[in-house]
């Protein structure tokens, strides 16, 4: 259990886990609420008793946009909001599918890929697709 004043803060803990290939979110020991992004105290009840656990990785696209960019600068890319089964939402990207096939309601599965700077980031693929 992470606690106030003990060790690194939740952002650093999350980043360290991700760097080791582990995607975890928080759960409140006080009220049971699932929490993402990582926080110091539970936004539902204020408790500092926030522990880490691995979500199922299954989620549903809530909204999507495609950023239009010239081909010579890397071309278009998608940005989505995904609702995880655990009830939390996160911004991400869907790989392995044409941008115009991404719609709200699409079932997706999380994996750890690369973010803008090549750093590890949680990304998604359509459910059932091999990573």
């Amino acid at each position: 259990m992470a606690g106030i004043g003990q060790g690194p803060g939740p952002d650093a803990v999350f980043a360290a886990k991700l760097a080791e290939g582990v995607f975890e979110i928080q759960k409140c020991g006080g009220c049971g609420t699932h929490v993402f992004h990582p926080r110091v105290i539970c936004p539902a009840c204020g408790s500092a008793d926030l522990g880490w656990f691995a979500p199922t990785g299954r989620g549903t696209v809530y909204a999507r946009t495609v950023v239009r960019r010239k081909l010579e600068r890397g071309g278009d890319y998608n940005v989505v909001l995904v609702d995880l089964e655990e009830g939390v939402r996160m911004m991400s990207r869907i790989d392995g599918i044409a941008h115009d096939q991404i719609v709200a309601g699409l079932k997706v599965t999380a994996s750890i890929g690369e973010g803008a700077e090549g750093d590890p980031a949680v990304v998604f693929r359509p459910e059932g697709e091999a990573n």
């Binding site: 909204a63 999507r64 239009r68 890319y77 940005v79 909001l81 709200a104």
Partner: protein
């Protein structure tokens, strides 16, 4: 104790709208202040409280006081983005009512167009969004647009009609930046930026500034122009980052509007003219719904086919808005100045007949902060 009708705007002015070559943001701001004080017939030395919020100057309230040569009793620099100025009016009313200040100045200015040609901001991307490279702030509004279209069937045509209405108003406003004809087809064919938003769904990048001066109602008639009374105000803050917005189809305007209208004792049907912060076309649809001008999900139909254009069922953004008149990074002050002009009967070809009640609404961040003001003429007290 209610703040209803306790304070009034007694001076208002714009400055440097469009392109203000060779001027700094604070210089544009001060030009607006000079105009607003002249409009109010108030000497600079009478100002004893100031408020501003400028994107690149963390201490802009202090800079403002310094450049005006003032030693104010209160310096307000609360930073919520483009909605800040509609919050400043509430703080001004509180200071005035408590007699902690007698003359409050609220102002803004930016040279972003001539200085950089794009939005100038000190904000970086949020930690948990940066890896996915959303355009700031555009992609956040694009996501809200996509969700509204998915959930309510709002169409590309309806979004376009918001921009078309803004342009039609701008054509009646000689001070508007873009006044050439704009059709629904033009908007839909314009360059895609972050789907489903296209460049004509997005506010302008201009220079510009504005200022207002507020005093207690009891002395508000001692000035050259008719006072515009603050009848109600309210705020709503729901998140900072779009990934933390609980429902992308419901903004804090539901809270801010209800609070403001309750204080003013009015309902949406009473409002004669509406000024909404239209950073993107979706904003207008969301705010009309959340403020109660139509039901949730019906905003698209409400704005379609000239519904908010000249001759429509509700006059919205009569200056041409951020989409066609002026948008120097933060637009909030311009909703107030246009509301004042309408309520004074100063709006020229775009004047709404006998406008007595106006709603001005500011948006900050990425639909994050919402602030509503209800303003009225003496007849509404």
């Amino acid at each position: 104790m209610s703040l209803r009708g306790k304070a009034a705007i007694v001076g208002a002015a714009l400055a440097g709208c469009g392109e203000a070559h060779g001027k700094s943001s604070m210089e544009i701001t001060i030009e607006g202040v000079h105009g607003a004080l002249a409009d109010a017939g108030i000497a600079l030395g009478e100002v004893d409280a100031v408020a501003t919020c400028q994107p690149l100057d963390m201490l802009s309230g202090l800079t403002l006081a310094q450049e005006l040569g003032l030693n104010p009793r209160f310096t307000m620099n609360n930073r919520m983005g483009g909605s800040s100025f509609l919050s400043h009016t509430l703080w001004a009313a509180m200071l005035l009512e408590l007699r902690l200040a007698d003359t409050v100045l609220i102002c803004y200015g930016s040279n972003q167009r001539t200085a950089s040609g794009k939005l100038m901001t000190a904000l970086g991307l949020p930690t948990y969004e940066a890896p996915y490279r959303p355009l700031f702030p555009l992609s956040s509004y694009a996501l809200a647009t996509d969700r509204h279209m998915t959930q309510f069937g709002t169409t590309r045509e309806q979004l376009a009609d918001v921009a078309v209405a803004a342009r039609a108003w701008a054509q009646k406003n000689p001070d508007a930046f873009m006044r050439d004809p704009l059709t629904r087809e033009d908007v839909i064919a314009s360059r895609p930026v972050s789907d489903p938003l296209r460049v004509r769904d997005c506010c302008l990048v201009t220079d510009g500034g504005g200022a207002i001066v507020m005093r207690r109602a009891e002395t508000a008639k001692d000035h050259p122009r008719p006072p515009v009374y603050l009848l109600g105000g309210g705020e709503g803050t729901t998140h900072r980052d779009i990934s933390e917005m609980a429902d992308l189809t419901v903004t804090g305007a539901a809270q801010s509007g209800r609070t403001a209208m309750d204080m003013a004792g009015v309902k949406p049907a009473d409002i004669d003219v509406v000024q909404l912060y239209d950073a993107f076309t979706i904003n207008v649809i969301l705010f009309l719904e959340d403020l109660g001008f139509c039901k949730k999900g019906e905003g698209g139909a409400f704005v379609a086919n000239g519904g908010i254009a000249p001759g429509g069922h509700l006059p919205v953004n009569t200056n041409g808005g951020g989409l066609s008149c002026v948008h120097p990074g933060m637009y909030g002050i311009f909703t107030l100045v246009e509301a004042v002009r309408q309520l004074r009967g100063d709006a020229g070809d775009r004047q709404i007949g006998s406008a007595e009640l106006a709603l001005a609404h500011g948006n900050g961040g990425v639909l994050s902060s919402q602030v509503t003001n209800i303003l009225g003429t003496e007849a509404t007290l």
